[in-house]
Amino acid sequence: MHIRRLSQTKLALGSDVTLSIVTDMSTVETDVLFMELWNRIFIFEKSFSRFLPMSELTTFNRSSGIKSTITPEFKNLLLSAKKMSIETNGLYNPFITPALQKAGYKKSAVPGYEQDAQTDYTDRRVVEAERLEIGDVWAQIPYGTALDMGGIGKGYLANQLGVMLNRHNIHGYWLSLGGDIVTKGVDENGNMIRLDIQSANNLVSTTNWIINCPEKKFAVATSGTFRRKGQDVSQKWHHIINPETQKPAVTDICLATVCADTCESADVLASCAIIMGSDKAPIFLKQHGIKSVLLQCIDEKGTPFDIVFGRNIKMNNPAGVFQNA
């Protein structure tokens, strides 16, 4: 059986999820593997989507102020969220949901699901992540608050899927979960996996930058103000909320692409970078051990500019022109 690349794309976690594996396993084996992966993804979404009325997250939020028994996976997720909030000095806050909904993110962003019933948390309040109490088999949030595991959940799941794939005869994989990507190994030709980066200015095109992914496990996350956005009656909004103002962040970064060891870190720090803006974000990201970063920005005059550092992000065709290979 020759080495080949198999990819599947499905709608999950509120966006498109693409799973690509490079393997020489039989078709039957890969079918079973994909099925396991999708099952894991769908169960995760079913458990931790705040857009689903019966998810564990929604029922947990509904029980705010009460100690609730939680599953081990939810506990891991909560621990990860609290840890990231502490590491970012509160720039990432899992309690931001009410502010997010007040800003306009009230419906599912997935076409066809906009009218789905979901809980309205706009009357709840935002508190610091330290108020999240986690016990052995229980957790508790203050009364009148609500959690959202959106970004960090995808990062967590991407890491978990990577762990699943490590148990199989896989030469390489890249898993893309709505902006969070985890890669490992090589492509079907034995070459380094390379990722194009979508342009913040033109969503159907890519930038001149590419990400060279090392063979060991590698995580990339993007966060931008252009995807989850809209126009309310009174104001424009996007989904990156500044915890200090509890309003959409005023920033000159349109899209942040962050490479890190884990997808949770990459996802959270990409969002933090957007909140901080191009002046402070590079130092902040370096302080948090980020390997490579591309910040697509736009200045006051509307001129786009990029900030990049790290050895994994390279300019594609430095000669100045792209040529058909």
């Binding site: 599947q8 019966m54 019933a117």
Partner: protein, 368 residues
């Protein structure tokens, strides 16, 4: 604090004295209500003495003076007795809610024991001086006929005020020198009170002042007669904090009471407001309750249930090209994954490369 000077200091009886103080001419007016008390202190050997409480015995209508009747019993009162005319006395006050309200207390029964007469005689003086028509019935208990302070003043007051009458209760010894007064031998008993008020306790205001045992005894009698606590006033400053068993009547007490009530209500308002802010509003709770497991209207929930229960096998036998993956994503969602996958550049258009500068100090590359 007010500066007063002794203008008279003489004995009323062998064991009591009447200290008359006159206000410093430059001092501001000292306004008090009949029944109130003051504290006084004075210098003894160049050092100020502690302050002690004494009831004012004269009428508030006498603007510049205050009179204090004092039983000489201990070292302090002994030194008071030694005060000479012209000696300076520091006065603080007035204090106390044991006060007479001419608008409310139309029919007053006073029960005085010994030096407890002081605030009561102030009330009688006041009522007589301004010709009030309020009925005042004084029952005055003394140890013996030789120790009845203010006996002469009482006589004058009865003569000048037809609405005032006095009954003396002499608990020990003969009463032969008090024959011109309405006098009974022994203590004030229920029968004595009954006889003086004709058994009618209704609509009367009782003022009790005297030693603690006397006041407790009198209050007990009145309670047994069915007198409401609100109609019994007792002066208890000598026993510690000022208190009265009757209704709150004086304006300072009203202010304190309303202030306390205000603080409590304010606290409750803040607490309730805080609780309401903490609680999710009806809309939040309502929207939460909209989520009904039996009536889930979330289509994604139903879809996920199906997917998890019977996952369809959707496998692309041919690897997706990067552009296919990307464009496919765009067709289904505006929120496609941003980085797309490629094995080699597939873009055929010619694009000018960005102009980049790299900072030597920070290592940051900025491209325009």
């Amino acid at each position: 604090m007010y500066r007063y000077f002794v203008v008279n200091n003489h004995k009323l009886t062998s064991s009591t004295l009447l200290l008359t103080l006159k206000k410093d001419v430059l001092a501001k007016d000292f306004v008090f209500l009949p029944g109130q008390y003051v504290t006084i202190s004075f210098k003894r050997n160049g050092r100020p003495t502690p302050a002690r409480c004494f009831s004012i015995a004269n009428s508030p209508t006498e603007k510049d003076i205050i009179q204090l009747s004092i039983r000489i019993r201990g070292r302090y009162t002994g030194r008071v007795a030694e005060l000479n005319i012209g000696d300076e006395v520091q006065v603080r006050g007035p204090f106390g809610s044991f006060v007479f309200d001419e608008n409310i207390d139309k029919d007053v029964v006073m029960l005085a024991g010994g030096m407890g007469i002081a605030p009561l005689i102030s009330i009688v003086h006041y009522a007589s001086n301004i010709n009030l028509t309020n009925k005042i019935n004084l029952l005055y208990s003394c140890k013996d006929q030789d120790d009845v302070p203010f006996i002469e003043q009482l006589t004058d007051l009865m003569n000048s005020n037809q609405n005032f009458k006095t009954t003396l209760a002499i608990s020990g010894g003969p009463v032969d020198r008090l024959t011109k007064y309405n006098v009974v031998s022994g203590r004030i008993t229920p029968d004595v009170i009954d006889a003086n008020i004709n058994g009618s306790y209704a609509d009367k205001q009782f003022f009790i002042c005297g030693p603690p045992q006397f006041m407790n005894s009198m209050a007990g009698i009145l309670r047994k007669k069915g007198v409401s606590a609100s109609n019994i006033m007792m002066e208890t400053f000598s026993q510690g904090p000022n208190s009265q068993t009757g209704k709150i009547r004086s304006w300072p007490m009203n202010i304190y009471a309303f202030g306390a009530i205000g603080v409590v209500l304010g606290g409750l308002a803040v607490m309730i407001s805080d609780i309401l802010n903490t609680l999710p509003s009806n809309s939040a709770l309502g929207s939460s309750s909209l989520v009904d497991s039996n009536n889930a209207t979330n289509s994604r929930q139903a879809e996920l249930d199906n997917l998890v229960n019977s996952l369809p096998s959707v496998t692309n036998p041919a690897p997706l090209s990067p552009s296919a993956a990307s464009s496919g994503a765009q067709q289904t969602s505006s929120s496609s994954s941003t980085p797309t996958i490629t094995t080699s550049p597939t873009v055929t258009k010619t694009t000018l490369a960005p102009v980049c500068t790299t900072s030597q100090s920070t290592g940051l590359t900025t491209c325009i």
